[in-house]
C-alpha cells in the first residue's frame, strides 16, 4: 500500500520533469542561433548600393578653361588636379602627355598645349604650395 502510493506519486513527477527538459530543449532549438553567437545577430548584407555625394569643385577662371573642362574632367574630378603641388610647365606637359599616351585621353596635340597653359596660369594665381 505504502509502495503503491509512492509509485502513484512518482510517475507524474518523472513525467513533469521529462516534459520540462523536453520543452527546454525545444525552446533552445528556437533561440540557439542567438544563444550561441557572442555578437549581436544582424541581418546579412546581400547587396550594396551606395549613392556618392556630389561636391561641386570650383574651376577657376583662366585661359582655355573650357578646353580644360571638356578634356580632363571626363575621366576624373578636377579636385585631383587642383590638389597637385606647384610644378613646372615642362612637368605639366609631361603629365598631360601621360593622360593621352598612357590613358588614351582623346585630346588633340594643340589642345594639350592649351590645357598646360591653363594649369600653369591657375597654379600661378594660387601661389606656391
Amino acid at each position: 500500500m505504502k509502495e503503491r502510493m509512492r509509485n502513484a506519486g512518482g510517475f507524474p513527477l518523472v513525467a513533469t520533469g521529462a516534459l520540462g527538459i523536453l520543452s527546454a530543449w525545444v525552446s533552445y532549438l528556437g533561440v540557439r542561433d542567438y544563444w550561441d553567437s557572442s555578437t549581436p545577430n544582424v541581418p546579412e548584407i546581400v547587396a550594396t548600393n551606395v549613392l556618392l555625394p556630389y561636391e561641386e569643385v570650383h574651376i577657376p577662371d583662366g585661359p582655355n578653361r573650357v578646353v580644360f573642362q571638356t578634356s580632363c574632367v571626363i575621366c576624373h574630378s578636377p579636385r585631383l588636379i587642383f590638389g597637385q603641388p606647384t610644378i613646372s610647365e615642362a612637368k605639366w606637359l609631361e603629365v598631360v602627355n601621360k593622360m593621352v599616351a598612357t590613358y588614351g585621353a582623346p585630346i588633340e596635340p594643340e589642345d594639350e598645349r592649351k590645357i598646360v597653359a591653363y594649369l600653369v596660369s591657375v597654379q600661378a594665381d594660387r601661389g606656391d604650395r
Binding site: A47, T48, L52, C75, S77, R79, L80
Partner: protein, 397 residues
C-alpha cells in the same frame, strides 16, 4: 589644486593662445589666407579629407589611430578608376578562378563562406601614403599620413582556392581583377599580380569581412584580396576574377605603374633617376605618435603618457624608442598587445617634461629583422614608401 598647480594651469592657458603660430597648424578660419580643408561624408564613412571624389580617395582622420584597429567607418579609401562599383548584387556576383588551372571555378559568396575561414590582423597601407611630404614634391594623390589602416580580415586562404581549382604545372603569376573599370576604353584596367609562390603562401586571403563586418562598399565589397605585409596596391577590391598565368604578367599596373628604384631603401635622386626599377612590394618599418596631439600644451613636472603605433612588412616590431634630444639618445617604450606580426603595434611611454619651451620628440621603430628608420627621408619618382623618423612638437609650460 595648490597654488603652484594653479599658476601652471594659467600659464598653460596663456601659452595655448600662442601655440598655433608655433606649430604651424593653427585654426584655419576664412580670411586667414588658408582655406579649410575639403572634407566630405561618403556613405558609411565619417567626415574624411577628400583627395579625390571621382573616384573617391579619402584620408583617415588622425584620431582614429588611437585605436589598434581602424574602424571601418573611418578606414581610408583609394580607388583608381572612375567606373568603380557602387551597386553589387550578391545573387549575381561571382568569383571566377581560371587560366592555367585543372578546374575553372565560379564561386558565389555562399560558396566562399562554406570554405575554411581564417582571420588575420594586418595593416593596409597605400604605396603613396605621405606622398605630400616628399621634397621635392611628387605629383599623384596628395596623401598626408592617413592612407593606412589596421583591420582584422576574415576570409578564405588564397591557396585553398587555388588548390581547389588545381594549379597546372608551370604557374608563374596569379592575376587579380576587380569590378572597377576605366572611364574610357583606352584606360588600362586595374589588374595586379602576385608570383605564384607568394600566392601559395599561408597569408594571402580573399577576405569578405573586415573587423567582423561585411566589407564596406568603399573598401571593396563583397570580397577583396588581402596581402599581409605588402602595400595596398595588391589588395584588389571588389574582386571578381583570379587568373593563373604560365608566364609573367605584364599589364600596365604591374609593368609601368607602382615601380620603385631597385635598392634596399627605394631611394633615388631627383636629378638622376635609377635605371633599375622593380614592382613595389613589402612595407618598410614605420612608427608614429598618436597621443598627445601635435602642438599640445604639457605641464612641466606632470607626467603624461606618450603613445603611438608601429608596424612593418611582417617581421614584427621588436622595439620602439623615443628621443627627447633630437636623436642623440633614445628611450625604449613599452609595447602593447601583440595582434600578430602584420598588425599595428601600440607603444607607450611615460614622460615627465621638465624644461619649459618648445620640444620636438622623435620616434623610431626597429623590427625583428633589425630594419629601422632613419632621420633622412628617402625620395623616389612615385612618392612611395616614405618611412622617415617622425616627430611631434609640444609646448612645455
Amino acid at each position: 589644486m595648490n597654488r603652484r598647480d594653479w599658476i601652471r594651469a594659467t600659464a598653460a592657458a596663456a601659452a595655448a593662445g600662442f601655440a598655433p603660430g608655433f606649430v604651424g597648424c593653427g585654426v584655419r578660419e576664412s580670411g586667414s589666407g588658408v582655406d579649410p580643408e575639403p572634407t566630405v561624408r561618403f556613405p558609411g564613412k565619417v567626415e574624411m579629407r577628400v583627395i579625390n571624389d571621382r573616384p573617391p580617395c579619402l584620408e583617415t582622420p588622425w584620431r582614429f589611430y588611437r585605436e589598434d584597429f581602424t574602424p571601418n567607418h573611418a578606414f581610408y579609401v583609394r580607388w583608381h578608376l572612375q567606373a568603380f562599383p557602387t551597386s553589387i548584387d550578391l545573387a549575381s556576383w561571382r568569383l571566377r578562378i581560371g587560366g592555367n588551372v585543372e578546374r575553372p571555378l565560379e564561386l558565389s559568396i555562399d560558396d566562399l563562406k562554406k570554405m575554411d575561414r581564417t582571420t588575420i590582423a594586418a595593416v593596409n597601407q597605400c604605396s603613396g601614403n605621405s606622398r605630400s611630404l616628399f621634397q621635392p614634391r611628387v605629383t599623384g594623390a596628395q596623401w598626408r599620413n592617413g592612407a593606412m589602416g589596421n583591420a582584422k580580415w576574415t576570409g578564405v586562404r588564397l591557396r585553398d582556392l587555388l588548390k581547389r581549382a588545381g594549379l597546372k604545372a608551370g604557374a608563374v603569376d596569379v592575376v587579380f581583377d576587380g569590378l572597377d573599370e576605366g572611364p574610357l576604353p583606352g584606360v588600362p584596367d586595374f589588374l595586379k599580380s602576385l608570383k605564384a609562390d607568394h600566392a601559395l603562401e599561408a597569408e594571402p586571403l580573399v577576405a569578405f569581412e573586415m573587423n567582423g563586418e561585411p566589407l564596406p562598399a568603399l573598401n571593396g565589397f563583397p570580397a577583396r584580396l588581402v596581402v599581409p605585409g605588402w602595400y595596398a596596391t595588391y589588395w584588389v577590391k571588389a574582386l571578381t576574377k583570379i587568373e593563373v598565368w604560365d608566364k609573367s604578367y605584364d599589364g600596365y599596373w604591374m609593368a609601368k605603374a607602382y615601380k620603385i628604384p631597385a635598392n634596399p631603401r627605394a631611394n633615388e635622386s631627383p636629378d638622376r633617376l635609377d635605371a633599375k626599377i622593380e614592382p613595389i612590394n613589402r612595407l618598410n618599418v614605420r612608427s608614429f605618435f598618436t597621443s598627445p596631439d601635435r602642438g599640445s600644451i604639457v605641464v612641466s613636472g606632470t607626467p603624461i603618457t606618450l603613445s603611438g603605433i608601429a608596424f612593418d612588412g611582417g617581421s614584427g616590431i621588436k622595439r620602439v624608442e623615443v628621443s627627447f634630444d633630437d636623436g642623440r639618445t633614445w628611450r625604449e617604450t613599452m609595447l602593447g598587445e601583440d595582434h600578430g606580426r602584420f598588425s599595428f603595434r601600440r607603444w607607450k611611454l611615460e614622460w615627465t617634461p621638465t624644461e619649459a619651451g618648445e620640444r620636438k620628440l622623435l620616434v623610431r621603430a626597429t623590427n625583428r629583422s633589425d630594419e629601422t628608420q632613419t632621420a633622412d627621408p628617402i625620395w623616389n619618382r612615385g612618392g612611395f614608401m616614405r618611412n622617415v623618423i617622425e616627430s611631434l612638437a609640444v609646448v612645455v609650460v
